[in-house]
Symmetry: C2
Subunit: 447 residues, 2 copies
Amino acid sequence: MHQSIKNIKEYLDIFDEDDLNNAIRDLTITEILDQWDEFTKEEMVRLFTHVDQEFKVGLISEIPTQDQETILIELSASGINNVLSDMEPDDLVDLIQQISPDVRQSVWDSLPNEVKEETEFLLKFDEDDAAGLMTPRYAAIRKDITVSQAINFIRKRVEKVETIYYLYVVDEFKKLVGVISLKEILTSEDNVTIDTIMERHVLSAREDTDQEHVVKIMEDHDLLALPVINRYNKLLGIITIDDAIDVMREEQTEDVYKMGAMSGDTDSYLESGIFKLILKRIPWLIILLLAGTASTNVIAAFSDVTSMAFVILFMGVITQTGGNCGTQSSTLMIRGLATGEIHFRDFFKIIRKELLVGSLIGLVTGIIIILRSFLLPPGGILIQEALTIGLSLNFVVIFATIIGASIPLTLHKIGLDPTVAAGPLMSTVIDVCGYAIYFTTIRLVLF
Amino acid sequence: MHQSIKNIKEYLDIFDEDDLNNAIRDLTITEILDQWDEFTKEEMVRLFTHVDQEFKVGLISEIPTQDQETILIELSASGINNVLSDMEPDDLVDLIQQISPDVRQSVWDSLPNEVKEETEFLLKFDEDDAAGLMTPRYAAIRKDITVSQAINFIRKRVEKVETIYYLYVVDEFKKLVGVISLKEILTSEDNVTIDTIMERHVLSAREDTDQEHVVKIMEDHDLLALPVINRYNKLLGIITIDDAIDVMREEQTEDVYKMGAMSGDTDSYLESGIFKLILKRIPWLIILLLAGTASTNVIAAFSDVTSMAFVILFMGVITQTGGNCGTQSSTLMIRGLATGEIHFRDFFKIIRKELLVGSLIGLVTGIIIILRSFLLPPGGILIQEALTIGLSLNFVVIFATIIGASIPLTLHKIGLDPTVAAGPLMSTVIDVCGYAIYFTTIRLVLF
């Protein structure tokens, strides 16, 4: 299409106004975001004031909170007014919730009353529920109008709603009674009434439906928007697909953090202060550290076994391999539970499968460690010692696959988040039990 | 809205045809998918034949491959024809690529020629590229028509295209010269020509653009569809948002698997055979096992230190804590690199931050392990021993944060996938180095 600008920064620093305007016109938001954190505050503001209105609205929703603040502080009250009034109400609510209190006040004062009311309505809802994602700017019609009246209505309302691609049919109490897509309307005859062509079985979310479930419904049914209703079936707003995608990204980040043994809050790494990062990390580290010290008791209980030099040599690699194998199993379960592919009712089927997989993997890794102990330094391992090491690795690996699969399934069954049973917890548990298995095997075989 | 059916299976087994039809009418695809793997093959087929056409098309794209086959085998040739012809061409291509060769032939034979041609066109492209996601059913117009002509065109074409929400403007060589949203058309005067209102700067993907980049562009710009062009700017097809969402889910699963030290292929767990699962898991296990055996050499090299009983007691918990801490750092980096928040140019800023975080975490965990070694069994630890253990844990944790942050950043910089540096690799590296740091600290302080 167009030659992308390799370094926007250079344009911002040296070009004159006209050249800058020309250069910016060809940029995409993706290109700007890619280079965003190289800009100084002055450059951010300069760039922002030079892009056109629609672009401003798209850009401000995507940049980090502190940069939103920088730009809002620099804009005049009327400038704020223009940009923020054009934002989707749900994005605006997110922005207002995130910015610091002093900036918030001046932003709030500059908003027109209509936008304030809308925002106040949305601020009542929990941000993790369906209602926290919705916009009140939907297109609603009555069921007794005709197709041509509906088309006229859309053409007049188009600027005031977030999507025109679904029309929601409501009764006199604003109860949701049907839905019709613009596609459907456009293919129908002009004088047909909406009543006869609308879909009466409307997929919807309740105001307190969990946002993850909202995403699932929209994904399974390939919907571009989903209506949100209260318990009396009254239409409150709609959730559009762009917001569902943001939720997907956020949930994904949360899951990855939890799998890395951290709290799931999705604040930016670069923006977070040292103490915030420590607070995110230290609770799990301490829990795992204290749990992990149980290994000192296990090792102490087998002091007869650990007095043999070769036993100590392989302590680390045996429990490490067990931990890796358990991590694999728990990762498969956690992901399967998250995508809805795996259910607790498959428990025994899964355990049988893991037992088989674990036995074969245990055999292979057992043989490898036996060969390794003969062929490479430090050496000096007797044949019966090597065989015992291989055998115990085999046991540890089988144990690890079973534990790795059953802990996440059980946590999920009793209503806890299976994600905590990811790598770090798994390897701590397997470390402690792995030592016991390793030492017991040696005691039984060699003593 | 409606009372959801707790157990669809019961309905499938006992109800008569009329009751079943009534019961099914109120089901959503999400509800059916939730209970899908409880159904027998007969029940799947019975359910499938009773839902209406639109529902069939939605459902068949979402169920596992082997169940798609089961249903396709049961359907008559004309039944196959009906369902598959109504599927989006890109979903159809995915289905045809996945089913087993014998079913594929009979499915292929039953397709109408028009669908065959479309499918053959799409099969030419790599499924991981932009072109592998696209549908050729887009709405294209010429720039010299008026708004009212465009509306008429849409109303006639609506059944033949996947989305009517963007119209792509092409010249006589099918080169993409502009785009206009249906929203824009509906707000314009009837006799205005498209030329004067279309957007000339069209966001697009090249046929070989990576699918992850496609998702990024659509996400950043809140697009419902993105056109795909070849190197001569000729319009080949469009990618719709539902397919972009599927890619997001798939990439997410790939990333999670890789972080759990497995190959990233996203085949279903329950459907995969034992040997496929082993193949997915064993390469990384063997690599990590062989790397991990380096710890035997480290331990052997410090036999003077490990001859002291207290040293062995804490070997496990010290390296484990280091591994957990390194996993946290690498998880933060991997996620930040994936979302585009973190870049290599922030290397020193990040390392400084991790050094500070690591020092404080090291201090806290060091104090905890000193207290733990005094207060709880096995006990018998001397004060200078406990202090040395705490000090070495502190060193290991600081080392772990630095390594955990720098390895993913460096891998990404040199063009490798940073995801491999997740938990399992990290804890293996830190195990080996952690022993060395632990033993060296003891040797320096106590000898």
